[in-house]
């Protein structure tokens, strides 16, 4: 039951003891008819849910609120997450400086394993069909005072375990982990209270939580969103994102000081190599489901050859190699001899792939019709799912959380009921349109670059080359990417 996070104290009680305690309290609470009332119940302990609760607990204005976290997984696994510095999880995100600043403000940034967080300062983006290219590097004098970091590559587990550590340091959250939401209903009217508009979260354990505000941070198939009757519009891309942790022959062309992110647009989708610590990089390769399953079936050597091919060979050669079941190493070295490329403008040669890190997931675009209802708010993937080509998904979620936490703070200082639709309006108006534009831009980029031939190719190449040669426009775009300049959206 409510394993209220105490500063580490719980860690000294063995799990079987806490389990029997939990059982005891559960029986007690089911006997008591009075509803267990929380100000905020957050369903979902991913990056968005954890940082929302951390933001509320870290702010003295909202720290008195009674908050609960409901998470399906066992948080003790996350708490004890640990990897050596030469092994990296395959699910990484690119955190913008704006997100990093927010995480720092709520006191979570310092709880991340800092040597596993890799800032990068440059980007190379090019068209796989025409080779038109844009180089996001800082020309002398264009670097902003706030620093040249475009983004920080971070393992999602590093982020969530850091957030959890910070949340435990703050304390005061009722945590229900290993907990499945059985259903969500509305409250009842009793003699003194009318809770018919209050959501009640029923856990399979029998526990019931009444929520002044129910936050859905419960992912793309959000049960909270279904409960609120909020529809999500969008489509599946018929693309899968293949991820893996890749070892390169060196630390990168810029050495340890200037790390570079690479992205090549192929007709099947973009392939990106994003720098991690040392000579490691994370691969995000959006491609057809058939290509994805082929890639996952290859030997580590053939997979590595395909990764090198993806950044070097022309799309026709690459398409042919996707038809082979094996022998990619030989096929690649033969075809490479007949391909011209500038080795300094692309990632260094991949030498191997870390065992067990190749995985894939389907790509979708979804946008909820609204983020708020009466006593309901959606954040992160529950509100929107974006194509990963701009690495904005997690940052959008952090932007949501920052805005919702601010909205709740305003409600508290002005005596508003923080759960009602009216109090939540600022959150909706601040985030929905901004997210919608970004979702649209990334969607259009995906579609623009899935064209392999025809008049669009020279046109988009002209656009990319033009931007590349216009330095004011370019540094403006880079400031955007770094989240330090004036806001476009």
């Amino acid at each position: 039951m409510d394993a209220v996070i105490r500063k580490r104290a719980a860690a000294y009680v063995c799990r079987s003891c806490t389990r029997s305690q939990r059982q005891l309290r559960r029986n007690f609470s089911s006997a008591a008819p009075r509803p267990d009332i929380y100000d905020v119940v957050c369903v979902g302990g991913g990056p968005a849910g954890l940082s929302l609760l951390t933001a509320l607990r870290a702010n003295p204005v909202t720290a008195h609120l009674r908050v609960a976290l409901v998470e399906a997984q066992d948080l003790s696994k996350l708490r004890s997450w640990k990897l050596p510095l030469d092994r990296f999880s395959n699910r990484c995100s690119s955190l913008t400086p704006a997100s990093a600043l927010f995480l720092d403000k709520i006191g979570a940034w310092s709880h991340l394993e800092r040597d596993r967080v890799q800032p990068y300062q440059e980007m190379q983006v090019w068209d796989g069909v025409s080779d038109a290219r844009i180089e996001f590097d800082w020309a002398p004098g264009t670097a902003p005072a706030s620093g040249t970091t475009i983004a920080y590559m971070t393992e999602n587990l590093n982020l969530t375990s850091g957030l959890l550590r910070r949340l435990e340091e703050l304390g005061g959250v009722s945590v229900f982990d290993n907990a499945k939401v059985e259903n969500i209903s509305l409250g009842e009217e009793t003699e003194g209270l009318d809770l018919r508009e209050w959501p009640v979260v029923h856990l399979t354990s029998g526990k019931q939580l009444s929520a002044r505000l129910l936050v859905g941070a419960d992912g793309a198939n959000s049960p909270v969103r279904s409960f609120a009757g909020i529809k999500a519009q969008g489509w599946d891309y018929e693309r899968h994102g293949v991820v893996a942790t890749i070892e390169l022959e060196g630390q990168g062309w810029g050495g340890d000081q200037t790390k570079i992110a690479y992205q090549r647009f192929l007709p099947t989708g973009p392939v990106a190599m994003l720098p991690l610590h040392g000579n490691l990089s994370t691969l995000v390769w959006s491609t057809t489901p058939a290509n994805a399953s082929l890639l996952k079936s290859l030997s580590p050597q053939d997979f590595t050859a395909m990764v090198n091919a993806a950044f070097r060979l022309n799309p026709t050669d690459l398409a042919f190699m996707h038809t082979q079941r094996s022998g990619h190493v030989e096929e690649y070295s033969w075809r490479l001899e007949h391909t011209k490329y500038d080795s300094r403008a692309i990632p260094q040669i991949a030498t191997s792939v870390q065992e067990g890190t190749v995985a894939s997931f389907p790509l979708k675009l979804r946008h909820a019709d609204t983020y708020i209802g009466e006593r309901v708010a959606l954040v992160g993937d529950a509100a929107h799912t974006i194509h990963p080509l701009a690495g904005q998904g997690l940052n959008q979620g952090q932007g949501d959380v920052q805005s919702l936490a601010k909205t709740i703070e305003y409600a508290v200082t002005h005596g508003q009921d923080l759960g009602v639709h009216m109090s939540l309006e600022p959150y909706l108006s601040e985030r929905w349109a901004a997210n919608h534009v970004l979702l649209g831009v990334c969607d259009k980029l995906h579609k623009l670059y899935s064209v392999g031939s025809g008049p669009l190719v020279p046109l988009r190449s002209f656009g990319l080359n033009a931007v590349n040669s216009l330095s004011p426009l370019k540094s403006f775009l880079m400031n955007q990417a770094a989240g330090s300049g004036m806001k476009v959206f």
């Binding site: 003194g192 209270l193 009318d194 809770l195 508290v412 002005h414 005596g415 508003q416 009602v420 009216m422």
Partner: protein, 301 residues
């Protein structure tokens, strides 16, 4: 609390969203306000009906529920009032912070008296503040108080003793509670009473030394004077019965004059002018107290 009177941006006609509790879903233009005024007068403090003890029957309850859904519908005719409410708190915070002799929530939590509370938009919000000890909210209309009480049941944070609704006028409040309150508020009320000077006097008696008397109302503007073709008068105490509601609007200068004659009891006033911008809500506009809606406060010495 009376239905909000509001002026849109300067230069536009005065409009009223009056009659909320009586005319569901209707936004009344100025020329239709006579009947609202008559209704308001019948409930005003000078000729208040004796507080009735209400035993609710089922029909009344469903009737009140319907009223409640309008008063508390943030997308209904009361929306401007809902939008204005946070500014009341901003103004009160500013008043409290402006004087070292103000009651400080860090030493003791504040006691509020909300006069003319209506459906309880301000009373509920004041009761929810972590710095509040309790709120006493009074209104002469038992009908509106039923709406307020029904709505307060929706939030456990408002359970007694945090928020207390009393069917009373300022005259019928027990004198033993005089000087008991840190903040006495009269939001959108004073333009509905027949003798504002006496009313202010009476309300002021309930303010603790160091506490604040806070009100909001609307100025009679040149624009509305022209449109209604009436000669502006000195309102305080001399408005004849049956005149148009507009006549009862009180200018900030008149309130200043009232308190200028009472400097032994009251400090110098603080004022904040606000303008309703359709689409975005209320905005503080410097010196707009001369034109439309404004907040006014004085600290008791």
């Amino acid at each position: 609390m009376r239905p909000p009177s509001l002026s849109y941006t300067p230069g536009l006609l005065l409009q009223s969203r009056g009659g909320v509790p009586f005319k569901l879903g209707l936004a009344l233009p100025l020329h239709q306000r006579q009947q609202t005024q008559a209704a308001a007068q019948s409930r005003s403090h000078t000729i208040a009906p004796p507080p009735s003890s209400s035993s609710l029957n089922a029909e009344e309850v469903s009737h009140f529920s319907a009223l409640a859904s309008s008063w508390w519908d943030p997308y209904g005719p009361s929306r401007p009032l809902h939008l204005m409410n946070p500014l009341r708190h901003d103004f009160i915070q500013r008043c409290l912070a402006s004087s070292p002799t103000s009651p400080s929530p860090s030493t003791h939590k504040l006691r509020y008296l909300d006069v003319g509370c209506g459906g309880g938009i301000f009373a509920e919000s004041a009761a929810r503040l972590p710095t509040t000890a309790c709120v006493t909210a009074i209104d002469p209309s038992s009908t509106i108080l039923s709406v307020a009480r029904l709505h307060a049941r929706r939030d456990p944070a408002l359970s007694p003793p945090k928020l207390l609704y009393v069917n009373a006028t300022i005259e019928t409040l027990p004198p033993s509670t005089e000087g008991e309150f840190d903040v006495v508020s009269l939001f959108e009320v004073i333009e509905h009473v027949d003798n504002p000077a006496a009313f202010l006097e009476r309300c002021g008696a309930f303010v603790k030394p160091g506490g604040w008397l806070v009100l909001s109302t609307i100025a009679r503007t040149w624009t509305s004077w022209v449109t209604t073709n009436l000669v502006a008068e000195d309102i305080l105490g001399i408005v004849p019965k049956g005149t148009h509601d507009w006549h009862k609007y009180i200018n900030e200068a008149e309130l200043r004059a009232h308190f200028a004659g009472r400097t032994a009891e009251w400090g110098s006033p603080r004022v904040m002018g606000v303008v309703f911008v359709p689409g975005t809500g209320w905005k503080e506009v410097i010196r707009s107290e001369k034109i439309g809606n404004y907040f006014f406060a004085v600290q008791r010495k």
